[in-house]
Symmetry: D2
Amino acid sequence: MERVCLVIGAGAGIGGNVARRFSRAGYHAVLCRRSDEAGLQRLVEGIEAEGGTATGYLMNAIEDGAIEDRVEQVEAELGPIEVAVFNLGAQIGNRSLAETRLKDFETGWRLATFGLFRLALAVCPRMVGRGQGTLLVTSATAAVRGNAGQHSHAAAMGGRRMLCQTLNAEFASQGIHVAHVVVDGAVDAPDTLGRMLGPEGFQKLREARGLEKDGLMLPAEIAETYFHVAQQHRSAWTHEIDLRAFSDRAWWNH
Amino acid sequence: MERVCLVIGAGAGIGGNVARRFSRAGYHAVLCRRSDEAGLQRLVEGIEAEGGTATGYLMNAIEDGAIEDRVEQVEAELGPIEVAVFNLGAQIGNRSLAETRLKDFETGWRLATFGLFRLALAVCPRMVGRGQGTLLVTSATAAVRGNAGQHSHAAAMGGRRMLCQTLNAEFASQGIHVAHVVVDGAVDAPDTLGRMLGPEGFQKLREARGLEKDGLMLPAEIAETYFHVAQQHRSAWTHEIDLRAFSDRAWWNH
Amino acid sequence: MERVCLVIGAGAGIGGNVARRFSRAGYHAVLCRRSDEAGLQRLVEGIEAEGGTATGYLMNAIEDGAIEDRVEQVEAELGPIEVAVFNLGAQIGNRSLAETRLKDFETGWRLATFGLFRLALAVCPRMVGRGQGTLLVTSATAAVRGNAGQHSHAAAMGGRRMLCQTLNAEFASQGIHVAHVVVDGAVDAPDTLGRMLGPEGFQKLREARGLEKDGLMLPAEIAETYFHVAQQHRSAWTHEIDLRAFSDRAWWNH
Amino acid sequence: MERVCLVIGAGAGIGGNVARRFSRAGYHAVLCRRSDEAGLQRLVEGIEAEGGTATGYLMNAIEDGAIEDRVEQVEAELGPIEVAVFNLGAQIGNRSLAETRLKDFETGWRLATFGLFRLALAVCPRMVGRGQGTLLVTSATAAVRGNAGQHSHAAAMGGRRMLCQTLNAEFASQGIHVAHVVVDGAVDAPDTLGRMLGPEGFQKLREARGLEKDGLMLPAEIAETYFHVAQQHRSAWTHEIDLRAFSDRAWWNH
């Protein structure tokens, strides 16, 4: 039984890189994503090629019991989840109110807000029993300000942020570190931004931003901060932190 | 056909008092609440006794189509909804994470976040067509900070706040005024706080706070500010405003 | 002896209009501004022409004792200051760090932050003695977010905002209403914006924004909200409120 | 010539520990503090005992030219300032408005806000010339909310926070990383908190909080996060981060 870092939402962007970063530090990485078995396999093999250990699962987090069952199985078969990373996005691009269907709005919430609540329900009691644990939550600009076309995304992320504060208020003194990471910019992530923009659009953006290749946020670099936050001593914990590329403006400036 | 002020969530607290305030200014008040036909009738009669006009409906806002159908009927039969007031709460008292059921969390969202989204979908296109309209959204401390035991409420209200900002970003320039009112304190409202605390607990709180009867927030006074915000000239609109009793500390101080 | 509304920073924009609004409600308006005796006289005469009463003073608020002496004199000769409006700006336009002199930075603070502190020291004890009073503080976008070129202005306004929260924390329960008004946009004010842009630039901006003459914020309309806030019942006080033109984006969206 | 980490405000708490942390990574630490030559000497010797290099200066930051001359001398004699840490506090304990003298309020600003502005004026142009540099700013709860008795401190820190955002807006794209660190709790720092409380009071607080010795924030642990932020890749920079002990509530919860 190894100590586990569980990543919900493990594509080739933040999720996969965070899994890899923790595996380098000796965690068994558990990667869960909805689709693309080949992509998942590549991430697992990449970790193993570096001498780490990892397990991958295809999982539709929105399904009843999917998160809960996974947590139970991981804890029973692989080891205690010391770090849980909730990295499900709910960005569907900009849509006017009229174009935002009831279903879109509900799905955004089911993934981004309710999914985190379900993960917390599943892992927090176990962490409390062990007197420690870390819950890292990827978040977005939309968690701190709404903007045109972001009806579904902002509502879901705003709920996520307030939930993180509530979890922190209940669990910090019990040794559980909950951190809300505001990723305030475009991430160089082929599985999410890449899919949303299409291959050409994505490449074009990369080139436009590509000042020495770091105009987009590099997910391997983001992962370093996730790892640092998880290693903070409990006398100096971070609850909220923002991240953006040097070349980008902060959300409060545009 | 009169101009209408539609209140979703019209109990004897903020909702009923806002309806009455607008009726005094010549709006036809439409009061919707889930239960208590007698209480609803009293509110309608109270408005009529002052020379105003009002219509009351029992309505379970959480049901599919309930808000949408009501908006359509009101517009067809009573008049254009110039002001829509979304006043549904989702406070269920403090519950630890373990005590917060999936159903609680979902219901909180359905009422507080999804309900507002549905109302906006129903009224905004009509308001855009008329080049004006006002959407006043009652909100709570939980919209700006999570706190222990507020998992469901804070997530729902945080989503509500970000949705208000998104609606504002899309609709302000089209003449629709969206305002998010942070009610940061206990309201002297028998139908919500009174029900949550029970008659004795409520009376006890009133007496404890009752410095010259205004230690609790008086809903008739809150209604004055709702009315003012709705009357603001479009060159000087408020999007967010907080309200609390003079004797209470601001949320950021406790 | 009449009840007094004292305005520090009374030009033809927000300050003068707020003075006029309160004078219409029976307050004796006291207008203080640094320069332009003719402009000051016009404001006083405008108020008197409407049947109100007003007194104007040229006053350099930055000078030692200027605010303190004025408060003492007004209270002794004209009446109790029930409402004090602190409306001194400190916007010097955008300047890079290198272009911002030590003197600029200090002057910004002396006007915008220290001036408010001095006013509070002078009026709050008197208001406490009377068990009531209102302190309305005009503020700006720069109080809630820094932006390029705003080194002096943002630092001064950020200090102002935190000072308002501190004053509120100490004095609200003693009956003094402190409100921080975030004016988030360009005001149609010839004495400040007009002077900064020059006559041609100002007229050009007015025309560019001039959708039916309300693309700039109209100070007479802003004054309505100042007046409303000052009239709020103490069971439902606002501490912070934002104001912007319908046609403008909120600061968190640009 | 070595690369330098300059710490303004280097006592035995955050400042001294940050200096030591950077010295371990090969920076020459320059420690500046107002008084206590023996304490300063101990910090320098502690760093040297670990194999690092350091220089200590007694410096009254509030004096004209003190910061500016120090920066010039360090750059000329010791090496380029790659990291500047602004760690001057301005906490004077809780004082009512009436007890807060004009001089207190001005001194708070001179230290906490103006001092940072002067440091930025001195180091930023040099960093721009080198295409990189880091400015780490220690901040406090009072930067994000005012509270009773904090008139001087909150106004100074609120100004500091807005100044950091302004510096970030101008300099991030030029390769300078400005980070605002909200230290939201009591730090186990004998030179500041210890002096404010007195030896007995300080020891009493340490014991009261001393759950396994980490109920107070340990400055050596805080220093780890300062170091991490300074090492972040420029594609994933943090501008604002909070820090508090696991056993403490976040500022928004008390």
